[in-house]
Every structure is written in structure tokens, then in C-alpha cells.
Assembly symmetry: D2
Homo-oligomer: 384 residues x 4
């Protein structure tokens, strides 16, 4: 059925300086390395083609071979002083948009990516500074490991930022930040910038240079409408793709974790494993993840507890909120404390040991893989 | 609240030969280029950090700036003769797994990726050859632009491949192919290999060297159970994440397109725009896309029709099935005919003109972005 | 906390001639029958109140105690001749709307209800007659056990009715029927009239006296757009609450059932139990039931097969399409043949025995109970 | 095609004393009243058949003609003293199960049904009494208009009941109640008993005579796990068909309503109409209704406010929690105050006027009709 059209015929498309390099391999299943094969491979390059048979081991490994590396970034002696120095040298304003300094995973070639999908940065505002308003389709959140004094203004709704608060910020909402206090403030920014850059999905629009409201209420309007347990405003009960709550306050997170450990102490279920309480931040209109691409949760370990070792498809960034622990990610092990950030790449085993009572914030890209039916996890010692 | 800890303190993590390179910029919003700034940027590199303010234009463009380029690959004079030559020189079997030759988008640095998310390859089997069984989490399909004689065996169910057929193959199902005829056969393979490689989600497992069934029925068991219009087997009515139908036969696709044009001729709705019929291949248990990461559809244009110009978030690969047309993708324009493949990157405008009656197969990554609420499209001339 | 306000105080609401009758009981848990109790019960009646304790056995039985009774209605010697006689005596037209004669379950007090939720009627049109257009929120379908010649016109789309066809008709669509042949035609109408009457949800609107299209195509426009296996028109892929397919043709139903029995004969899964093939009619945009309140399926038993005995929450109406069988519904048993209709009330066990190859159509209210998480079933002999 | 089989042939099924009565009508569209017609109608009765044409006006009205009537039941001078009297005369225990006295809608023939779908009763426990454990598929809740001292024990989890609390109790969970105080306590029970009785879906099972836990914690275990705003326990994040929260506490309901009115006073959206705040109690795992068949919400009107007049498909029961108002339901109008209960049948217009600040609890069957795509509403003055 297929006629042998002959390869001597002129190729209609070709690339003078092709980016493609086809290397002959010698593993089982590879063709003999002959001049004819070499000519064929050169033709592939010329025609912008790559054979599967030379690449399959790299492209389709037997299990995920993470490109990102396990790594830790230190808060007190690393991120924070550098952010302070940036506060002295770098203006915040239109063009640069934010004084944010991103973790660059050593496995990702110098890109400002904590993992292939996730951005994690320390953002820093000097007293009385304003980060101008803009909006973008990238989904974002802030998490406050210490300090207060900044309000983030989301579509005109001022949201106070205080230690322990988790502040999601779904894509395409206007937002700016301003520091109304006499102290600088630093916090963690998490976004799906790497994913949206990879996938070419991002839109961005600048807004006013000043925030659209300078009010500084203790609670945002979003909380007054949406942050009541088990209650929705009857005027807006439809499912929303992202959470409408602008701030998940520490007092509630702390109480929920305390309750789980209390139930465990009384012999009732609730914790995720012995001595390990955990809550997920969710969208109250669906019970699902706060953002379409990002899951966020908070973990509390009793002193002396060591978690089971677990692998998961997808990547995560953790930040120690309080306490001291020992983290093992694949072949790496670190002792971490308040503010330290570490990265767990896809399918790399993670174990956490609590040297003191240990509180940790985590965010990860699991919603992407759950929605695409690609998620898996594995507990070491478990079968399957 | 934040103490000035001083940057002279020893950094606890550092990278001798950092992949990070921070370049000072001179655009609006950038800090003055001073020795102090330079020192700060060197510290960033040392600590594996990247500022947002130097990268934001690249990272967060005002609209998607596709990394992939529009490109066309020719079938009759390009892909097919090279595949034939590979048939002479390259064995098919364990290790190489498949004699498949992938489109390498010129914008993607030589990687075997048609777009950032999609793999498209010509696969080629000589008479009586077998591509051994394996399974992988990558979602796949085959589309047959010409020829027949190969059966793909999916979990033991032999599925005939014939011109015009679309054969989805969801992740983690065992499959192998064998050519029972005296002619070689070539077809299009589409997979989400680039996406799963990027996201580190892939698992792979080799199976038997021979296909597990050598029966060659005209219809697969999957079709006998599932490919009846509006009917599900009462024994299996639950929603499945991917389609259970192993083959979408040309006769049905053709009839559905003919019916749409017939309705249009009689003055009734159905076509997607004037003179342009289109069907989507769907999962009969949900009405949704056939695969979690891949949408597939088929288009038929009346002779002389030109489509509206449209942009979409996400990328697509098209193959001409029959006829001749003029394709405009961004700044590129080509005349295409049977078998030719072209790529439409994210947010690049596409127009198709039909010089003859024109049939086209398309696959794209839209389900990823719809599920993550990142999808947008735009018709030129439309507002918004 | 509750003050004893005294029952001598004037009641503010009362009912001179109360419909409430409270009867003192003597079962365990009932209060002693005293004059004081009698006075209390009379006060309940006066105040339109009923105690739970006298009614709980009736209201909350240990398992469903169906109000409907098992019953059979005969087609050839019962429904059909009476419908023919009605054809002679009763006009069809505005006001009466339809020449439809409904099954009145003997357990339901003379109401025209086959079961508490379902209406089943024989509808009859003389040659050249027209049943005028109207629309209503009641969901409907037609099933044709024999004959042809009538077109039902749904929102202007003429749909031919032929033996074996299942023709759903979702609520609030305009529809009328006309017989273009020289023979009378009778068919089965199924609706959720009893449910919507019970729940007070029904709206009704009369339309033109004549059907809005007198075309008599072999296939409806709805079939041309929607009745292709695994294909949706790309212009209309959104999920719809009810099926857009106007006719599920016998040729497809028959083929799907034949395929299931063929697979079984070859040793492959597909049938619902040994010798018993079954398909469900579904909405191609969701894979779910054709109508929000009504499930419809079709069953084929090999000669000599007896089904397992099964109970289900919810009620069903069956019609024999072809063949002869023995039906056991609770304490009742009948031999049935073509056209005969029988009712299976909630939680009453059903067994079907096939004396010949046996084809049966069924419709039931299961979607209501699945959506409300009230559905259960039980196979006799199974545990639980 | 249909042979005239003649009606003289013996009917194979008949009913000696048929419940069916077919009455000839004289409206437009009805057949002439002749002896032949009379004979046909007698045959219908004999064969358990009812024509549509005589019944259609009743069965398929142009808009819902509610069988239930608007009605009010008084709390302080009606329900409460009768319940107190029942407390003196009627034991609570196995057999009678509960000392509950149900509203019997005057339109529903004396059945203990507030509406066709909903049960509403006052339940009453004397000091130290126990209502024994049982479970049933009927979905239930309790709402406390005044008092405290009773714990309801749900699957072993003791849940305190206090003024203002809403306590859902999904079907098939074990539960009993006991009064640990020295005061009697009365509250509102709401269930879907009428719906499940109608639909023949109910199962019931008695449990222990005593509650399985006599602990009296201020917060239930369910609240400790689930009642934190926007937080789910990471160990149990799957969607559940009914809410896992055992108590929605008054303090949260009150705060949410106060917040809505506060937002309105500041000029921000949130209230459902001017001066009218409302929250819906929801399942935190889905954001949907607390129970599959029952919606519950809470309303607060500013003094002097009158709501718009609204019709809804489906029925509702309201209870005044605090304040005094004027209620108009169709042709009926009442002044109501604390504890008074009133019924709004399907499609009957409702207006509420607040003579004082007015708090009202409502429950309704809307989830049934939303899930079945039968819900509609209409604001008087609005078009459509």
C-alpha cells in the first residue's frame, strides 16, 4: 500500500541549522551503527524528526525520574537577609512589579522554579511601601511565617496578612499589597508560574500604581461572607472554580489541628497517621482544592513522631512554621527550623521526623494530576 | 519585626557552580546597576535564587508567548519515505519498543515534541512485524491516514486499524501491534509524552514480546460492547476516566460529518461555522473527552470555505486526511495535502482555507486547560 | 426552661372539621388508653397534629412496603382492543389532547398510575389523525411494540416511530403526533406524571392544533446530529440534562444485544448475568440516564434462562417485546407474551424465566433514587 | 397493522371490584356521552385503565396546583402545651420510639405531613428521659428554637442541642436522644418521611434502648473534625452525600447573618435582597445541601423590611426564631412570633414583612427538584 517513494526526492521542509541531534545508541533494541543509519539520522535532523527508539529510556522511564532535585533554602540566614538587602537596593513598583525572590531548583537549569510546576518566593515590603496592582491568570497564594502589617487588596477587598495565615489569590483577580506598618514584612509567595509558562497559558494586565482601598480592617469582606463553618451566603451558592475566601486565619488552622490531636488522644479517628494531624485548605463552594492547580495543607506532628515514608506523583514545597525536625527527601537529609523551605520532587520518598512539636505548611500541584487521572502515591512498606 | 541579621553571616546552603545567572536589566522598574546590586545578584546565584523583577516580562507575558513554532511536516515526500527507510535499517522490538519517528518542533530545542505537551509520530511496521507489548501511563491514540493490515492488541482485545479510524489507547493499558498483511503500514501516533515527561508522572512496564492475541476480527470486543449510539452495556454504566471504545470507525465519522453538512444545506444548525462540519470523539460513559489529556476531533470543510481566524489557549496538531487547503498559522502559510501535519501553538491565530473539499483530523491538549480553568479562545473580529 | 403554659388556654389555630383522626393503639410503646389520652388526641385533631408514636409502623417500616401491587395488563386481548374501541368513540384533539389510556395500579386507589411515580399508557391514533402540539414539564417517552406510520414532531423535528424504537421526549419540549399512514397505530407512552403530580412541579402549555412540520424523513434531525457512536457535534458538546437524541432505533438496540450474547458465547464479559444481555439507553452528552426521572433499558434472555431474583428500591414497568416468558413478582406469577405490560413495585422480588428467546423493554424511576442516594438493590441469595 | 380483535373477546385480566371510576366529562375535547362510551368506560374500570382525556386537567395543570394548603401552627399556645401534656401522658421508648407530634397539613387528608414531601414535628423530652437508638433511611434534622439540656448521640458521638443550633442527621446513622437536665426540652424535627413513604424507599432498624454514649461534651467529635471554616481533615477529603457536621452552632449562624447586614450597611453585596440576609447550611465536603432531600437555611430581616413576593417549585416549612412578622402565603396572612411554624406549598407566593428585627429558620425540598431539573422560581414583578 505504501509506495517506496525514495528518499532521494527533495524534502519540502528542512531546517538549515536544525536543533535536533540524533545520537546512535548501543543498548539492546538499537539498530546497528552503519553509514546508512548515520545518513538516516542526519535526515531526521534535517527534517526535524527524532526517533522514539533512541529516546525512550529518557522519555518513558519505568517510574518518574524527577528533573527537580531535593533542596533546602534557609530562612533566617539565607532568604531573609537577602530579601532585606534587596529592600535596600531594589525599588518596588511598576515594571518589576514585586520585590519577590524565587527559589531556583538546582535541577532545573537556573530557572526560577522551585519545581517544574511551582514558584516559591520570599516577598518583602519595607514600611509604607506599595506593590502596585495587577492581575494575571497565574494562580497565587501567600503564606505568612512571621510578621504582620501588610494588607493585600484583592478586587478592592483589603485582606490583612498575619503570622500563620494562608491567603489564596485565584487567577485573574486584581491585587496589590501595601505595608501600613513601621516594620518591614516578608512572606512566602506560591504560584503556578512555571506550569503556566510551560503550557503557554498566561495572561497579565497591569493595574493602578496604588492599591484601590487603603482601609485596614481586621477581617476582609471575603471572610465575612464565606469564612463561616458549613455556611454559604444564600445569595451566592454556586460552585466556584477557586475559593472565594481571601484569608484562612491561623486561629482556625491551629484549632483544627489541636482538635485532631485531641481526638487521637481520646482514641478517635481524624489524624492522617499516628501523631500526625493535617488539614487541607478548601474551597467552601465545592469542598475541593482552593486553587485549580495548587493544593495547600498544614501539618502538625507530635514531638518524637516520624512519618511513614511516602512517594507521590507531583511535586511539593514545604515550609517549617514552628519547631525543629529532620527531613529526608530521597538521598538528602536536613535539620530544619522556622521558615526553612524544602522541595520534594515527584516520586522521591519523603520522611519527616519531629525533634520538637513540629508545624509545617505545604503546597503542591496534586490537583493537576488528580484532575488528569495521573496521580499515584505509595507508602513504603505497603504493597503495590 | 524582622531583625536585620546581616548578610555577612555565613550562608548555610550554597552551590559552588550555580546554574543560576542573574542579569541586571535596564527596563523601567529595574534597580540601578551598582556594585552593591551586582553583589546581591551574585549572592542570589550562590543561594539558588532568582528575582522576579528581572524575569517578569519573560515569565508573565501579557498574553501567551508560545515557545513552540508553527511548522509543517510533509507526509508523502518527508515522513513516509524516511519511515520506509527506517523500516529497512531499524529493527522493531524490545528496547526500542516502536519504530516511531516524532515531530520535533523547531521552537523546542530539538526535543521530540510537536508542542510542549504533545507527541506526534509516524509509526511504521513492515509486513509480519510485531511491536512488542508494553504499558505506560502516557495516554495515546493512533490515527490512520492510509493503509490497513495492522491490529493493535489492547489488553488482549485485537483492534483492526484502517484508513480513517481513530484508535484511542488510555494510559496503563497493555498494548502491542502486529502487521498481518503483506504490505507495510504507517500511521500517526499521538501521545502526551511531553506533558508527562515535563510533569514527571510517567510509569512504564514492558510486557510479552508477542501480542497476546493473534485473532484478527473486523470489530474489536470494545466496539461490540461500547460503540452503539446512545447505548451502554447495563453491566458497566459507571463513568470511566477514558473512553472504553478501542476504535472510532471512519464510516461513523464520515456519516456524522455528512449529516452536519446535510443539515446545513437544509437550513438547520449543527455545523460549527458556515461550511465547516466538525465532530468530537468522546467517551460514551461521560460525553467528555476520549482521554484525560487529549481532545480529538475531525473537521470537514466545503470547497472554497475559509474558516474564521481563531486563537486558543493550548496547542494542537492537525493532519490532512483528504483534499488540499491553505493553512495560515500566525505569520506562516502553507498549502497542505493528504497526510501533511502541522502544529498550532498556544494563542497563535489559525485560519484554514479549503481549495478542495477538505477533511482534517486534529488533536490538542484542551482537556488539560479546561479542567484547570485556564482555557480561553478568541475569534478574530469578535470583541473581548 | 419550658414553662407550663397550661392546655386550657385558647388554641389560636383550629379546624372545625379536622381531616385528622388519631386512633389510640395498643401495641408496645403506646400510652395507656385513658380519658386524658383521649382528650389529648382530640386536641391533636383539633390542632391538625398527628403523633408519631401511633403511626410509626406505617410511616417507617423496616423495609419498603410498596403501596403499588404487582399486576399485569394484556396487550393483544386487553389494551389493544379497548384502544381500538376508543378510536371509534373518542376524538383526539385539543382539550383531551391525546387518546391515551393509562394503567391504573390496583394498589393506588383508582389513580391512573402504573406505580407511585410512573405513568404507562397505550396511545392510539387512527389513520390521518393528529394529536395536537403541547409541551409540559413532565418527562416522557414512547416505545413501539408494533406498527409504524406515525411521526412525532418535537420542536419542529419530525421523528418516525417504528417497531422497537425508543423515543424519549424530555420535559418542556413542544411535541405533537400525526399518523400519515392508512393503518391505525398504537404504542406505549411512559411519563413521570404521577411523580410530578405528587410533587406539584408540573407546568403545561398548549400549542398549535396541527404539527409544525409534516415532513416524514426516515431519520430525525436529532439523530443526524447526535446518534453516531462516540461522536458529538463539536458545536454542541456541553452536558445536557436530558438526551438530545429523539429516537433510539431498533437496529442499534438489537445489534448491541446480539453483540453481548456473542461475546458471552466466546467467553468474554458483557452480559449482566448468564444468558441475559441488557443495554441502557443513555444521554450521549453525559453517559447518564436519558431523562432526569426515568431510566430505560432493554433486556434479552436466551431461551431457558431464568434470571436471579432481585429486589430494587423504586418501581418499574416492563413490556414484552418478543417471545414468551414466566414472570414472578412477589407472590404473583404470570405467563406473558408480546405487548404484555407488568409492574414491579419497590422492593418486591422479581424473577424472569424465558420460555423462548425473550426480549423485554423496561422503564423505571431509579434516577430519582440514585440522585437522592436512596437507591438499594438486593440479589436473593447474596449476603447483605 | 393492528387487527381489529374485537372487544367482545374475553379480557384476561379483570378486577371484580375495581378501584377505578371513570367519569364522562363535558368539557371541550371530551367525547359525546353515549351508551357506547359508557360501556367503554365500564370496560376501562374492569381492566384497571383510566383515560388521559378525562383526567388531564387535574393531572397536568398549566402550573402547579398544590395539594397542600398554607397553614400556621402556633408554638407558645399550641404545639408547646400539647407537647407538655403528651409529656405527662405518653411514655417515650421502644415501639413509639419518639415523643414527636407532627404537623398535619389540612390539604393532605389528615396525614402527618406538613407538605407532600416534608415532616415537621415538635419533639419533647422530660428531664432524664431517653429516646432509644434506631436508624432509618429517612433524612432528618433537629432545630432548636429554645432550651437546652438534650444530647443527641449519633453513631456514638454525643451532640449537644442548644437554642439556635441546626443539627442534621443523614439517613441510616444510628441515633438516640437523652435529656441530662432537670428541665424538659422541646425542639423541631424535620424529615423526609412523607417523600420516602410515598416513594417506598424507607428502611428502619431499632437499636439499643439506651444511648451508646452518655458523655456530654460541649462540642461533638463531628464538629471538632469538620466545623472549621474552609478546612477539611486531610484524612477524609472525599465528597460525602450528606454533611458530616453534626451541629451547626448558633454563634456561627448569627455571626454570618450579622456580617451580611454589616456588608450591606457599608454598601457591599452579600444579602439576598435589601435588608434580607440569608445563609444556607451546607455539606463542607461538597458545598452542596446538607442532606440529599432537604435544604436548610436561615434568614434575618431588618425591622420594617418586606421581602419581594416569590414563588418556588417545591414546598417549605418556616419557623420563627425571634421577632414578629407578617406572613402572606397565597390568600392567607398571619402575624407570627417565636416558634410559630408555617407552610409554603409549591408555587404559592410568599411575602414576609418584619415588624421587628426578624429571624427565621426554613427547610425545604428544593434539592430533590434541582437534582431532577424540575426547579423553577418566579419573583412577582419580574418577567418570565
Amino acid at each position: 500500500m505504501l509506495q517506496n517513494l525514495g528518499y532521494h526526492k527533495a524534502m519540502t521542509t528542512h531546517f538549515a541549522d536544525s536543533p535536533v541531534k540524533v545520537r546512535a545508541g548501543s543498548a539492546p533494541g538499537q539498530p546497528d551503527h552503519t553509514p546508512e543509519l548515520d545518513a538516516l539520522y542526519r535526515s531526521f535532523e534535517h527534517e526535524l524528526l527524532v526517533p522514539l527508539w533512541t529516546e525512550i529510556g529518557e522519555l518513558m522511564p519505568t517510574q518518574p525520574a524527577a528533573s527537580a532535585a531535593p533542596h533546602v533554602w534557609r530562612w533566617r540566614d539565607g532568604l531573609l537577609p537577602l530579601a532585606q538587602r534587596a529592600g535596600e537596593l531594589v525599588p518596588v513598583g511598576r515594571g518589576g512589579e514585586r520585590r519577590a525572590i524565587a527559589l531556583a531548583n538546582p535541577g532545573l537549569g537556573g530557572a526560577p522554579y522551585a519545581t517544574p510546576t511551582l514558584w516559591a518566593a520570599i516577598q518583602y515590603l519595607e514600611p509604607r511601601e506599595t506593590a502596585p496592582e495587577h492581575r494575571h491568570t497565574q494562580n497565587a497564594f501567600r503564606f505568612v511565617v512571621e510578621g504582620e502589617g501588610v494588607w493585600t487588596v484583592v478586587n478592592g477587598d483589603p485582606v490583612a496578612m498575619r503570622r500563620g495565615d494562608f491567603l489564596p489569590q485565584a487567577g485573574w483577580n486584581w491585587h496589590g499589597h501595601h505595608n501600613v506598618s513601621d516594620s518591614p514584612m516578608a512572606w512566602l509567595d506560591g504560584l503556578d508560574i512555571p506550569f503556566q509558562h510551560y503550557a503557554n497559558t498566561g495572561f497579565f494586565e497591569p493595574g493602578p500604581d496604588e492599591v484601590t482601598s487603603t482601609a485596614i480592617p481586621a477581617r476582609s469582606r471575603s471572610e465575612r461572607l464565606w469564612a463561616h463553618p458549613g455556611l454559604l451566603p444564600a445569595s451566592q451558592t454556586e460552585a466556584q472554580p477557586s475559593t472565594p475566601i481571601g484569608a484562612y486565619r491561623w486561629e482556625y488552622t491551629d484549632a483544627a489541628l489541636r482538635d485532631q490531636l485531641g481526638l487521637e488522644a481520646e482514641g478517635y479517628p481524624g489524624v492522617i497517621e499516628p501523631g500526625h494531624a493535617a488539614i487541607r485548605f478548601v474551597n467552601p463552594t465545592t469542598g475541593g482544592d482552593v486553587l485549580p492547580t495548587i493544593r495547600a495543607d498544614f501539618h502538625r506532628l507530635r514531638e518524637g513522631i516520624q512519618t511513614a515514608t511516602r512517594r507521590e506523583v507531583g511535586s511539593a514545597v514545604w515550609q517549617v512554621f514552628e519547631g525543629r525536625g529532620t527531613i529526608t527527601v530521597g538521598q538528602r537529609e536536613w535539620t530544619v527550623e522556622r521558615g526553612d523551605l524544602f522541595v520534594v520532587p515527584s516520586w522521591v520518598p519523603l520522611t519527616i521526623g519531629a525533634e520538637t512539636p513540629l508545624d509545617l505548611f505545604r503546597f503542591c500541584d496534586t490537583p493537576i494530576f488528580e484532575r488528569l487521572h495521573l496521580y499515584r502515591d505509595h507508602l513504603e512498606g505497603a504493597s503495590g
